[in-house]
Symmetry: D2
Subunit: 355 residues, 4 copies
C-alpha cells in the first residue's frame, strides 16, 4: 500500500557526500537510499554506524554499487576529478544522475557528460547547482520574472569562504580548477539563470591577488579574485570570490534592473539572535555553505527524486553546467594571462591580437 | 534490520494537526505515523488523499484510534477544549502524549492532565511549547546560561498575529481563553524558561483595548493587550499581544541582563531577499507562526520521538504548562477586573482588599 | 545690513548647558549668545576659554544675568531643582524662555511655571522636549498623521541609559524624581504627542526592580522600570526605562496603528560602519543621548529662536510639560505603593479603595 | 574682542554652490562669507534673497570677486569646466582654494592646478573630496589603521545615483568626463586613501552598458559601469557606478582585509524610522548625495577654514586629485576601447600591443 520510492545510491561520503546521504535517508520521503559507495575506510566506518542500521548497503567499488539490484538513480558526490567518469558510467547503466558541481573543471570533459546524457533522453541528469533550489534565490527570480525590477541589467555575485589558516585551500587548489571555477561557478550559474540562459558572452576579464596564501600561485590560483563578464545582450555580470572572510561564509547576489534591485543575502543571518554587548550589537553569520544552504540541498534531493519518479522536467538543463565551466575557465585564464578574452556574437572566441 | 520506529497517531487534522501529521510522516525519521483521527469530513478527505496512500489508518472516533494495534504515542492537535480529555484518555491507555498548547484554558483542568501523567511516570507527556524547540531561542538560552548577559533581569516578549479582517478572531475568542492565554502563553512559558522555572509570581497586571474588533468585548477579550508580571526573585517580565500586525506575524523576545541583552527576532526575516524599490528598501516577514516556527515543530516531533524511543528525559516538565496557564489566566482576569493581582512568596494569592 | 539676531543667555554650563551654549554660539545663525550664567568655578573656567573670546559675558549670579542689556531670551539648563524658579524669574523679567525638561519633578511647581507663562502671553515659553525636534520622530509623526498606519492605538517607548558602574545614578536619583520622571518623561511626552495631547488618562500602573543598583531603593527608585498607561480614548501606552544597557543608549519607540506600525530607532545606529569580524558582524550604537539626539538640540535652538524673532507659534504647548510630569509621578507612585492608580473621564483621580 | 574669521568667497551658486554658500554662512563659525560669484541671473536672485541681507557681496564677474577687499579664500563650485582656470587665478591672486571635485576631467589640466599650487606653498589648496570628511569613512579608516582588519587587500566601492528619467544625465554626460570620472572619482579617491596614496596602478579595465539611456553612447558614456584596478602592491580595487538606482542614492564601500572587513553604508539609512506595512517592513534611503553627505560638507568647510586660519596641514594632498582623475580617465578609456590598460612598476603605461 505504501507509495513507490526511488531507489537511489550515493557515491562519495566525504563532507558533502555524507550530508547528501543523510538527506536522502531522512529528509527525502519519496527516496529510499539503498546503497552508498566510498573507497575511504574512514567514510566506510561512518556509513557502518550511521547508514547500515537503516538497511543501506555499503560498497567500496563504484561499479558494483551501480549493479545494486533495482537501483534507479545515483547521487555523485565524490571528488571533482571523478564526477564525469562516474556520471557517464551511471548514465550508461541507465540510472538517473544527480552530480555535484562541477561536472569537471574541464569544458571538454563536462561536455562529454552532457553528450552521454543526450544519448539517454529518458534519464534525468542534473548538475547540483544547489543555489537554484534555495528559497531566497527562487523568490528573487520570481520577483524579477514578475517584472518587479524592470529589465535585469547588472548582476553582482560573490562566493566568500571563511578564512581557513590550516593551509587547506592550497592543497585543495591543485584540483579545484581555480577560484573562479571552484567558488564563482555558482555565481556564474546564477548569472546565466537571472540574465538568461541564452546570454552570449562578449568578453571576460579577471584579476586576483594572494593576500593570505602566497603558495596558491604555484597552482596558478589566488585567494581573492574579481572578474567581469559582458554579454552581447547588453547585460553585465561581475564576480568576487574570496578565501579569507573572517566572519564566516558570505555568499551574496544583487540583481540590478532598470527599475529596482534585488539583493539576496546582502545581510547574512546565522540565527534570529542579536546580541547587545558592551562592544555594540553583534550577530553571527553562517560559518560555511552548509549553514547557508542546507535546506537547498534538501529541496534539491526532493525535486530530483520527484522528477525521476514522475518523469517530470528538471528545473534546469544539464548543458548550463558546461556554459558555467566555460566562463569560469575563461575567467581563470584571464587571471593567469593578464588578458581580456573576447567572443563574437555567436560565442566564438576572437583572437586577442585582432582586437 | 531497519531501526525501530515509534508508532504514533495524530489526533486532529485542522490547520495545525495536518501540519503535525505531515511532519510525522515525512520529517520525523524515527517515527511511523500509523493512525490519525478527525471528526471532520473535510479533514478526512484530506487524509484520504495525503496520508492513506502511505499506509496511515484514518479514524473518526478517538477511542478507536487509541486502540490501534501497537500504538505507542499520540500527538493531540484537536480544538483546545478537547485537549485535556483526550490527553488523559491517552495516558490512561498507556500512550506517550505530545499535546498542543494549552492543555486547557482552565488551570484546574490543565492540572488534571499533569495529575494523570504523574500516575504514569514511565510515559512521556509533553505540552507543545514549540518555541522551546526553535533554534534561535535555544541559542539565546545557551548564551544566557553561559553568562553572556550577566544575570537575566527584565524579560519582554510579544506574540503579534497578522491582522485578519475576516472576523475570525471574534469567533475564535469564544473558546481561546483570551489573548493572554492564547497568544501570550508562549511568551509566559518563555519567561519561565529564561527567568527560571521556579520563579514565584509576586504580582500581575494587564490592560488592553479593542482597536479593530470591538465585538471581542462580548467574549471578555481584547485585540491588543499589555501585561506585566513581577517575580519574587527580583525579575520582571512584560508582554504584548496583538491581533492587528499589518506586516505579518511578529513574535519577538528580549532578555535584558545586568551585562547585556539578547534579542530574538527583533527584526523578522521572511527570506534573505531585500527589495530596493522606488519607495525604499523592503523586506517581507513571515505571515504566520508557521512561517516563523515550522522548523521548531519538526524538531519538537523528532525530540519527542527520540525521548519515547530512548526513554530519555524530555527537555522541560509538564507542570510548566500549568504555571503558564495560571499566569495567563491571571493576566486575563486583571484585564477584565481592572485590578492588579498579588501573591505572597509561596505563590498564594493575596486579597486585593488587603493591599 | 545684517539680519537681526535674538540676544539670548544660557543659564547652567554643566554637561547639557555647555552643549546648549555651544549650539547657540555656533549652530544657531539667528541667535546671538550674549551671556551665560553658572555658579560653578569649573564651568566658569570653561566659559572663559570657550565663550568669552567670542564676546559672551559670564555671570555668576542668575539675577544679574537677567539684567544683561537688551537680553531677550534665556535657555535654562541648570539643575532640575532650579528650573522652575529661574524660569518664572525670566518670564517676569519679560524674557522668552526655553527650559530644559522637566520644569520640575513636582506637578504643582511645574504648573506654577505654566501659570507664570500664561500671565505673559506675548512671551515664548517652551519646555525642552528635545525628541519633538528629532527628524526621525517628526517623520514618524507625519507618516502617522497622513494615515499611514490607520488609527494609532498602542504606543511603546523606552529610554535606556548605558550601564554606568560608577554609582552616579544612585546619587543622581536623590533629585531626579525617579526613573519614570527622569527617563520616561520623554516617552510620556511622545505618547501624548502621538496619541493626542488631549488624551485623558484612565489608569496607570508600574513595577520595577533594582538589578544592578540596590542602593536606589533608598531614594524610592529602581534601575529598571516598566509601566502602562491606559487612556479613556481607547489607546494604551507602555514604557520601559533602564539604567543598564550594556551596548549604549537605546531609546526607541513604536506606534502601532490599526493598519501598520512605525518604529523609531528600533535598530540603533552609531555610524554607517559595519564590522565583519571573526566573531560575527558588529555595529556600534551611540553611547549616550547626545550621540542620538545632538541634531535635535540644534533644531530646537533654531526653532525656538525663530519663534521668538518672528513671533511665531511654538511647535507644542507648555502645558504638556505638566501633563507629562503628572503621568511620570503617577507611575513613580504606583511603583512605590504597588497600587494601580485610576482616573475618571475628566481626569480626576479615583480612590483605589472604591475600585 | 571677537575671534578672527576667515574671509571667504564662494564661486558658483548652482545646486552645490548654493549649499556651500549656506554652509559657509551658517554652519562654519570661523568663516565669514564675504562674497559670492555667479553669472546666472537665477542664482543671483537667490543670492539677493538669501545672502545679501547677511552682508554678502554679490559679483557677476569672477575676477572682480577675487579683488574683494581682504578676501583670503575661495571655494570654487562652478561647472567642472571652469574649475581649473578659476582655481589657478585664485592661487595666483594669493587666495586659499577649496575646489569642488574634479579639478578637471583632463589629467593635464588637473596637473596644472597642482603646479600652480606648488608655486605658492604658503596657500592651502584642496580638492573637495567630501567623503574624506564623512564621519563613517573616517571611522572606517581609523579602524583599519588600528589593525582591525589586518592588511587591507580588496577594496570595493560604488556610487549609484537615483534613476532620473528626465534625460538630465545625457546632457550632463557631455562635460562630465564619463561615469568613471564623474561618479567613481570619489570611489577611486577612497581607494587611494584606504589602500595607500602611494599605490602604483598595474592595470585597469572597465566595461559598461546603457540600460536606460542609450543616448549616452553619443558622449561615449554608459549608465552602468564596472571597473577593476590592480595595484603593484598586491591590492585590488573594483568599482561600480550606476545612474539607475530606483530606491535612491546608494554609495557604499567595503574594505576587505586579511582578518576582517569593514563596510560603509552597505545598508543605507534615510532616517531611523522603519515602517511595518501590509507589504512588509520598509525603510527609505537618501534620495541624493546631499542626504547622505551633507554633514561631510560642513566638516569640510570647517576644516578647510581652520587649516587656513591656523596654517595647519590639510588632511590630504592636492596631488591625489590628479591620481584619481588619471585612474578615472583610464577606466573610461578602457570602457571605450575595450582594452585592458597596463602600467609598469613606476606607473608608466605599457603598450597593449606588447602585452
Amino acid at each position: 500500500m505504501a507509495t513507490r520510492k526511488l531507489k537511489i545510491a550515493c557515491a562519495g561520503l566525504g563532507r558533502m557526500g555524507a550530508r547528501h546521504a543523510m538527506n536522502l535517508l531522512t529528509r527525502t520521503p519519496r527516496a529510499e537510499l539503498v546503497a552508498v559507495f566510498s573507497p575511504e575506510p574512514k567514510e566506510i566506518d561512518w556509513a557502518r554506524r550511521e547508514l547500515e542500521p537503516s538497511g543501506v548497503k555499503i560498497y567500496t567499488d563504484y561499479d558494483e554499487m551501480l549493479s545494486h539490484p533495482s537501483l534507479e538513480a545515483v547521487l555523485i558526490a565524490t571528488v571533482t576529478t571523478a564526477h564525469a567518469e562516474e556520471a557517464i558510467k551511471a548514465i550508461e547503466a541507465d540510472k538517473h544522475v544527480l552530480c555535484e558541481k562541477p561536472l569537471s573543471t574541464s569544458v571538454e570533459i563536462s561536455q562529454s557528460v552532457v553528450d552521454a546524457a543526450n544519448r539517454k533522453p529518458h534519464l534525468k541528469v542534473m548538475c547540483g547547482f544547489s543555489r537554484r533550489f534555495d528559497s531566497s534565490y527562487r523568490e528573487a527570480y520570481e520577483r524579477m520574472e514578475s517584472g518587479a525590477i524592470g529589465r535585469p541589467s547588472v548582476f553582482r555575485s560573490q562566493t566568500c569562504d571563511r578564512l581557513d589558516k590550516s593551509g587547506f585551500f592550497v592543497a585543495y587548489a591543485e584540483f579545484s580548477g581555480g577560484i573562479f571555477v571552484d567558488c564563482n561557478i555558482h555565481d556564474i550559474d546564477l548569472a546565466l539563470w537571472f540574465l538568461g540562459q541564452d546570454s552570449v558572452v562578449k568578453s571576460v576579464v579577471a584579476m586576483g591577488i594572494c593576500a593570505v596564501e602566497p603558495d596558491l600561485r604555484k597552482h596558478k590560483d589566488v585567494d581573492n579574485g574579481v572578474g567581469i563578464v559582458e554579454f552581447w545582450n547588453g547585460k553585465i555580470a561581475y564576480f568576487y570570490s574570496s578565501r579569507m572572510m573572517a566572519a564566516g561564509q558570505h555568499d551574496m547576489t544583487e540583481i540590478v534592473g532598470t527599475n529596482g534591485k534585488l539583493a539576496v543575502n546582502a545581510n547574512p543571518v546565522g540565527s534570529l539572535v542579536e546580541m547587545y554587548e558592551p562592544t555594540g550589537v553583534r550577530r553571527e553569520i553562517p560559518s560555511d555553505y552548509w549553514g547557508r544552504f542546507q535546506n537547498a540541498f534538501v529541496t534539491e534531493a526532493n525535486e530530483f527524486t520527484a522528477a525521476c519518479l514522475d518523469n517530470a522536467k528538471l528545473p534546469f538543463k544539464l548543458s548550463g553546467a558546461v556554459q558555467a565551466v566555460q566562463i569560469g575557465c575563461a575567467l581563470q585564464e584571464s587571471l593567469n594571462t593578464g588578458k581580456k578574452i573576447s567572443y563574437d556574437e555567436t560565442g566564438r572566441r576572437v583572437e586577442t591580437a585582432k582586437l
